[in-house]
Every structure is written in C-alpha cells, then in structure tokens.
Symmetry: C2
Subunit: 150 residues, 2 copies
Amino acid sequence: MTYEKTKVKNMPAKDIYHNVVRRALEKDGWIITDDPLVIQVEQKRIVYIDLGAENFIAAEKTGEKIAVEIKSFVGKSFNAEFYTALGQFISYYGVLNESEPGRTLYLAVPKSIYQTQFDSKLVSLAVKNSGLRYIVYDVHEEGGIVLWMN
Amino acid sequence: MTYEKTKVKNMPAKDIYHNVVRRALEKDGWIITDDPLVIQVEQKRIVYIDLGAENFIAAEKTGEKIAVEIKSFVGKSFNAEFYTALGQFISYYGVLNESEPGRTLYLAVPKSIYQTQFDSKLVSLAVKNSGLRYIVYDVHEEGGIVLWMN
C-alpha cells in the first residue's frame, strides 16, 4: 500500500498529463506523428516539443499539423511555471517557424488552471503581447480538449 | 575552511550579481530608486522586478526610467533559465506597460552568457520575436555594464 502510494507520488506529473493530452487529441481525430517532436536547431542544440500531430483531411495529401507543449502546472508557484511555459512557447515558436513554418504550436493547459489563472491581468496581458496559442484539456479521463485558443 | 566553503556555496548567486549590477548602474550615473520595484498588478498579485532606476538629466524635472530584472544563469541548464527569464520579461513588460508606460524594462545578462549563448539560433530568434531588451554586465567588480541592447 505504502509502496503503491510512493510509486504514484514519484511518477512525474508530466507523464500522467502527457498521455491524457495525447489520448484527448486522438479522440478529436488527430494522428500523433511525433512523441516527442524533435527539432535539430543547431549542430549541438536539439529542442524537444512534447507532441507532434496531424489532422488528415480526406482528399488532401497533407493535413493540418500541430506541435503541442504540455504543461501540468502542479507545482507550488503558478507564476514561475507560467514564465517558463511562456518562454518555451516563444523559443519553440521561433525555431519551429524556421524548420516547419506550416506547423502551429500550442501550449496545453489544464482546465482548472485556465479557469483560475488565465483571466488574471498578468496572464491575459502576456498572452496578448506574446501571441501565445493554447489548448485547454480536462485532466480527467474522457474529458478531452475543451478549448482551442488561436 | 569547510564552513566557509559551505557558506559561500549556499549564498544565493542572485544576490551576488544583484549588487554587482546595482553598483554598475550607479557607476553609469543611474540613481537606484527601487530595490526591488514593486508592481501591484491586482489585489492579490504583486510582481517584484529586481531594480528600478532613474537617470536624472539636468534642466529636466524627470529623467529616463528603467526596470531591470537581473539574471545570473549559474544553473546547469541555460535553456531552462532562459525560458524563465524570457517569460518573466514578457509578463513584466505587460504589467509595467500598464502601470508605468514610461519605464523601460531590461533583462540583465552576464557577459560570459551573452558571449557563449546569445548568438545561438534559439536565443536570437526568441529575442527577435519577443522584442527582448537586455543589458550585459561584467560579473567582476568594476567591470560595469558593457552593452545596452534596445
């Protein structure tokens, strides 16, 4: 019993939500093509974005392509995690736009965080000034993607 | 001896560079007006930017005003620290622009980091896309501010 609890406690939260978001995207018709999506930025610098997915449309050879960086926001300080997530989005956007201009980048945010934090002045101004795109996911199984913010 | 070593090791690096940057700005004629600069964003949310400074020009009642967020980049992962710094810059810029539109925000970066990291594709694209303004400081005493990047 104690062992089981420890096991669950030590499992990175990122991995739990990683699969939740992966399944939610698949439920919405997306094909996961990369897990993670690897971008060779320079000879010695590689960037990993959590998921790459494609939505194949009948009668078209290529579909809509997205890259998704999954955030759990389970730490103590929302602000600190938001700063990191925002900086990642801007940095990944830059290199992704060079290597694959047709692929759209999203940050995946849990519904509870979206509801309690994203209407704050700090976050809404940062979203507006940075052009941050995000999707909101339900952390519960079968909850799925509840919002796409382009 | 061991005690001294431990003491130095445990002293936050941020504080060491904080005073280095503070003195470097003063040497350049800036008056430190806020340490830290406190921004009341909302009733329950306060943002602290490391320094507020003003450059008083003779024959003018008010001078040029800046806010400076100091970064040491002494951690193991430059990328992780850069993401956080970039996210802070965008977030602070948003709230500072609302509360004090006349004050210019800068990120303070050590010279060694500027020289080894800021010409990378990841950083230069992120700087370009975000409008990041930064100053480069020498971590050694009397080194001063070596670059202003507007």
